[in-house]
Structure formats: structure tokens, C-alpha cells
Symmetry: C2
Subunit: 242 residues, 2 copies
DNA sequence: CGTCAGATTGAGCAGCTTCAACGTATGTGG
DNA sequence: CCACATACGTTGAAGCTGCTCAATCTGACG
């Protein structure tokens, strides 16, 4: 019963009830599975995909590159996330999507998405909602970038990842796998690698987190949340009639 | 013929053909008009609106406030923009929306939006697209904030506003009305008011822009665009079958 | 054992902030 | 019509946050 859309369904069901029929429609929407190696592009900027990529397993990032070579990561994705659902309507990718780890991708043709909007409006609204949550996360990141200190910003990102990974059952003993380099973290937070390193040291010294390889443990959720001023409402994890 | 949805229709028609019927459905969707004074909230953080606000006239901003009182503006809105279309599915506002100038607002009940998703899937996709463009703008701002210099960031914002205002016929002689204070600009760019002032001086000194009161004139579009590394694809102003 | 990616450290510096003062336009009450 | 208030823009000086450059450390792996 745990099909390809397992993680996606988990997330959607936290937001609204899904009928069995809708679940079957979702599962059938994935027409093909694709494997992408770490550090490879899943989608390239400028592409006009005819299918959207549902991340089945692995970590991925949306990113933009400036002419100077400086890079900004604008989103991090975990299993169950559509990395480019927006390409269904935007048509042209305004950014690339990178596999941070080896990734398994489920491909959903735009023609199928269009059919869902024609025949399953409630399911379509939930997909729309997924992209709206992406937007809400963008706004939270903008706020963190513009108005929070580097340390609070990092703390905020950790909090967010814990909630998002928790929703798909990927938090154990207050620990997550975060297979992402400090340099990639820097591109996410808008910081230099060196400063990311120092910020992490600070969070460790203060007894807020512990890291061991790609493992990250939160030692004091309360204080971490306070430091970050983190409130998870923006992730829309409440059940509502939508 | 120029109804309440004039500016909205202008924008949507740059993205895809709209049938006359769809235009009538849109116009009928606005059930009430509301006036909001400058510096007043159009929607408050935490609200659960039952209607979405279409900006008919004026400038508005989405914003978040931290406990320290620091504020981040996460979006600027011009006539024809929905300032909280996302509340249709997000249900709870994760930010406030502020009238930067006196604003005229058209209210569209969520029940009507729901009906559009049931009965007018093509129109629904175009509304979905509007929220996706909001997201694309967020990503562009994130990149500017994280990886561009303050000057390039400001230049980028000016470029974006020119294109967006151009789309609704609000650019004349390379000039726009930008009724927004330097302090608000700072909250938008994540800079201090003082630095906004200095950045603007630099752009003026370099002959890129001229300001007179709330008027902003671009003197050298080519160089401004180059400095900002601005490419307008992310605004989705191309006609496509959607 | 050597290599390589990634993490860590130190030192100097740049960009932007903060604080505080001052300038300028507009409006308002007496 | 003037005196004053208010909001916004401008300027200078000092300081902090985070960057850059460059070296060194660490662990995984062939």
C-alpha cells in the first residue's frame, strides 16, 4: 500500500482529507520513475519541462546562479515535495533544481495535472496549496535573510527542517539526516562557508544542537525555537476543509 | 468596458487568452469594493479571511514583523494584483498586508474562487499561475538578498517595478510613481534607511535613475538592467497555452 | 599511503548598521 | 501669515557583522 506517492499523501492528509479515489488518481499520475545522481541537475534553468518532478527519495535544492558564479539556493526539498510543480503553469523554469543526494524522482506529466484540474478540483486545490506553501516558505526565508542575524537564521532553518521532516516520519530521537555541506548551507542562508561554520559552532557551544557527520540532533528545542522566533503556522500543517 | 478587473485582465491576457465568458466570471467575482487609508492594514497576520483582496488601485505591501520590531516587506503590490489570493487555500494569513497609499480593494469570496475551480478550470489555472508568479518573485528577491550587493539589489527592484507597472500601463516617459518611503524601501531590501539613501545617491550619481518626489525615472535602462542582472522571464509575461 | 572533499581556524578588511544631528517640505492652529 | 510640528531625506562618524584569503586539519576511500 505504500506506493510512490506515500510521502506526498502523508503531507496532503495533514492538510485535508483525501478520498481513496483521489489517492489512486495521484498514484496513477506518476507515469515514470527516474534516478538522479548526487550533484546532478534534476531540472535546468530555462527548461520547459512537460512533466513535473515529485521527489520520492533524497534531498534536492532549487537554485539560481549569478554571472559572478555566486549561487543562491531558494528552496530545499525533502521526500514528498514536488520540486517543480510550478513549471506546470510557469512553463519556463526560472531556476535549476539540483540533487543534493542521490534522488529518486516520480514524473507527473503536465497533461495529467491539467486533467486533474478539469476532473478533480478538490485534488487540484490541494496541489495548488502545495505551491502556496512553497511561497510561504519563501516569505519566511526572505524575512530571515533580511531581518534575522545569521545565527537566528540558521536556527530557523533547522527548526523548519525538523517540522518538515517530522511530517514524513524522518525525525528519530530529535535527530535528522541532513546530507548537505556547509558550503551548500551558505548558499541557502546567503552566508559564506566560513561564517556558516562559525554559526554552527555557536549553536553547538550553546548546547542547542549536536552534529555528527550528516546527522543533526536538536538538544534544546525550546531555546532553539525561541532564538529563531520560529512558529510553524506558515507550513500549513493543520487540517482544514480546502 | 473598463470594469473593476481591468488591470487584472490586462495582466492575465499577457499570459494566455481569456474568453469573454471568463472575463465576465472574473468581473462578477468581485462582490464588494472597499477603501483602505494609507498606512492601514488591508489584512492582518493571523486573520482567516473569507474573501481575497484584489488591489484595484494603490500600492500595498505584504510584511512580517519580528519581536524586536524589525520589519520585512516580502512583496510589493500594484493595481491588478491579488494581495492574498493564497489565503483561499492557506486559510490563515502568515503575514500582514499594508496599504502603502490609499487603496481601493475588490473583494472576491473564497466560495466564488472555489466555484471557479469547479466550473472554470482554465480560469482557475490562471489564478493559480498568479500565485506562482508571486513565488517566482519571492525567489528572485531571495537571490537578490542573499547574493547581490545592496546597489544591484535596489537596481533589480527598480527594474522589476518598471516591468510590472509597464504591464498595466503605468510607465510614462520612463517614469513611474513610486509612493514609498526610503524606510519602507529598506524594509523591502533588508537594508537600513541610511543605506537605502546612499544606494539611491549612487544610482543617481551614476546617471542610472532620477527621483523627484515620488517620481522615479530610469535614465539608462540598459546599464541599470546590466547592473541588476535583470531578466524578466520570471514574471511570466509571455503568452502560452495554459 | 596519498588524495580529495569538506570542515576548521586566524587575520585583515569591507559593507552595512547604528546613532545622532541636521536639512527640507508640507501642513496646521493661532 | 507666521510659528511650530511632523515626516521624510541627508550627512558624518564609529563600530559590528560577516566576508575574503589562505592555511591547516580531518576522515573516507582507492
Amino acid at each position: 500500500m505504500t506506493g510512490l506517492t506515500h510521502h506526498l499523501v502523508l503531507k496532503l492528509e495533514q492538510r485535508d482529507r483525501l478520498s481513496d479515489h483521489e489517492k489512486r488518481v495521484l498514484e496513477a499520475a506518476v507515469v515514470r520513475v527516474r534516478e538522479v545522481r548526487a550533484d546532478e541537475d534534476i531540472v535546468r534553468e530555462g527548461d520547459r519541462p512537460l512533466e513535473s518532478s515529485l521527489l520520492l527519495d533524497g534531498f534536492a535544492a532549487r537554485y539560481k546562479v549569478l554571472s559572478t558564479g555566486r549561487r543562491q539556493i531558494t528552496a530545499l526539498h525533502v521526500p514528498g515535495d514536488f520540486v517543480d510543480l510550478h513549471s506546470f503553469q510557469l512553463k519556463v523554469m526560472d531556476h535549476g533544481v539540483l540533487a543534493l543526494t542521490p534522488c529518486r524522482i516520480g514524473l507527473v506529466p503536465h497533461a495529467v495535472l491539467e486533467k486533474i484540474t478539469e476532473e478533480h478540483p478538490h485534488l487540484a486545490r490541494l496541489l495548488w496549496l502545495s505551491t502556496l506553501v512553497d511561497g510561504a516558505i519563501h516569505r519566511e526565508w526572505l524575512t530571515a535573510m533580511g531581518r534575522r542575524s545569521a545565527t537566528a537564521h540558521m536556527a530557523h532553518l533547522v527548526c523548519e527542517l525538523f517540522v518538515r521532516l517530522g511530517a514524513i516520519g524522518r525525525v528519530q530521537d530529535s535527530t535528522i539526516q541532513l546530507p548537505i555541506t556547509q558550503s551548500e548551507l551558505g548558499d541557502t542562508l546567503g552566508l559564506s562557508t566560513v561564517h556558516v561554520n562559525r554559526v554552527l559552532q555557536e549553536l553547538r557551544k550553546d548546547g542547542l544542537i549536536r552534529t555528527r557527520g550528516s546527522e543533526l540532533t536538536v538538544l534544546d528545542w525550546e531555546r532553539l525555537q525561541t532564538l529563531a522566533e520560529f512558529t510553524p503556522i506558515y507550513l500549513s500543517m493543520q487540517t482544514e476543509r480546502r
